[in-house]
Symmetry: C2
Subunit: 292 residues, 2 copies
């Protein structure tokens, strides 16, 4: 299965924890991890490569340089990394037909195979929207006149690469950003929703993008069905949304002990045996496109 991640140096540790949970709960699967980045150092990449190889996976590096989004507008507080997710399809090998993008602030608790094989038809993406009513309503008003029935979370995105290559136009995205500069709070997620909401196949948030902040809410609105037993045995992706992260200070939440457990498992693996260097490691862009 193909997994896409995009990150900077601050997120290497959480990324390893996320990957550890993915590997531990998908023991009989093979993973090709595609990493889009701009500024990771050689030793960081080597450490990550060794870590993934130790778990039987392969790392492919997609180095993004300054030329990649030359004509893209930039917003005050955001770098061009905001375009990585939406335009990833341009930088991935032609041969790939789908890839699962995962944020690093995630734990994978159960097998991802079923999610990965979700029938997408002509849809561009598979994604979940968080069904808390106030959140939906705020985003609907904020992104008016774009019609938002559901505000999809872009932290877990199953990408239909063939359809993305056929249907998405980078210039349309850039125009949208230019025209809505002031409205954009979470730029890539906002773009995803404003431009592509109708081409997203909705997936169950309780299974595939469970927001770790809302245990009580999920449990209540499911009449108790979505309890801890259900989550641990069924939820595939637990997402630590929001500003406070379980690897930071001051965190406290229902899944804190579980996160720390996976963090320990990941750290243990760090200091395990160092494997032979994996020659399959690709250092340079798999496909380099300078002017999307």
């Amino acid at each position: 299965m193909n997994i896409l991640v995009t990150l900077n140096a601050n997120y290497i540790k959480p990324l390893k924890v996320m990957l550890k949970s993915l590997f531990m709960n998908n023991e009989n699967e093979c993973f090709d991890i595609y990493l889009m980045h701009t500024s990771l150092k050689e030793e960081e990449l080597e450490s990550l490569n060794a870590y993934i190889a130790r778990h039987g996976g392969r790392l492919f590096i997609v180095k993004m340089d300054d030329g990649c989004f030359q004509d893209a507008p930039v917003l005050l507080h955001y770098t061009k990394e905001m375009y990585f997710r939406l335009l990833a399809y341009k930088f991935l090998p032609e041969g790939l037909d789908r890839i699962l993008y995962l944020d690093p602030d995630i734990l994978v608790l159960n097998p991802v195979r079923k999610l990965y094989e979700t029938e997408l038809g002509d849809c561009l993406y598979g994604a979940a929207y968080h069904d808390k009513i106030p959140v939906k309503e705020i985003n609907r008003l904020r992104l008016f006149p774009y019609e938002i029935d559901a505000y999809y979370n872009s932290g877990v995105l199953l990408m239909n690469l063939g359809q993305l290559r056929a249907q998405v136009d980078a210039q349309e995205i850039y125009r949208f950003v230019e025209e809505n500069r002031m409205k954009l709070i979470m730029p890539d997620q906002d773009i995803l929703n404003a431009l592509y909401a109708k081409q997203i196949k909705s997936i169950d948030e309780k299974l595939y993008n469970y927001d770790a902040r809302y245990y009580g809410y999920y449990k209540l609105t499911s009449n108790g069905a979505c309890d801890m037993e259900y989550i641990i045995n069924n939820t595939v992706i637990l997402h630590f949304c929001g500003k406070r992260k379980p690897w930071g200070n001051q965190y406290s939440g229902k899944f804190f002990s579980l996160y720390k457990h996976y963090e320990k498992c990941a750290a243990r693996m760090e200091f395990h045996r160092s494997p032979a260097f994996d020659s399959r490691w690709v250092h340079h862009p798999v496909q380099s496109v300078h002017n999307p």
Copy 2:
């Protein structure tokens, strides 16, 4: 290492979870599990034996029958099982010099080797007391005139079998029970404290008997040092004290998600391959003593 457990049929599932956590976090150790029981069925014992064998451990069954504590007084709400822990030394093989008793409402989060090798000298037991002041004070008053400086928790007991054989007298225990019938709330723990408190080597509760109900209390009284990071990486034994258990309904607590995770790991192992029957399994009392 020798591990002692005593239980009835209601606790088989939690016992398997406890053992799973023990095995997972002590991968290079060999465990001999001694099980004292009165009423487990043949198929329950076989399932447990297979489960332990699958993890590379050995199960020894110590079947207790009606004759075992013939002259022991019985209390209204308690069966003779209250004596199992205190008189276990009589029913274990002469060759054993120490054994670690563990309650089934426990998760073992880290290696137990250091605890197991605690220097006990002439002490009968290694045990931790829970240092919450109101709890200590209530027990001191309740068990007066027996001097209680610390009220030890009997859920984790490192037993110095040689000293127990030399020093403990069953009749003294029975007399104590006769004379204090009305005062005893948690009989075996009360007996342990009233009769043997001065012969107990104190072990650190934060490491070896962390009461899962008091996360905030431990963190506060340690000036923040005993936080989730510390516990997951250092605490060896996490004890789900109290009436509400993480395998029951209505449970909610800091370590709920972690417990459910181990429960899933244990269940997974249940449905794994079924191994060859282990001929080392001992069906009958290792040593049968009918009138201690």
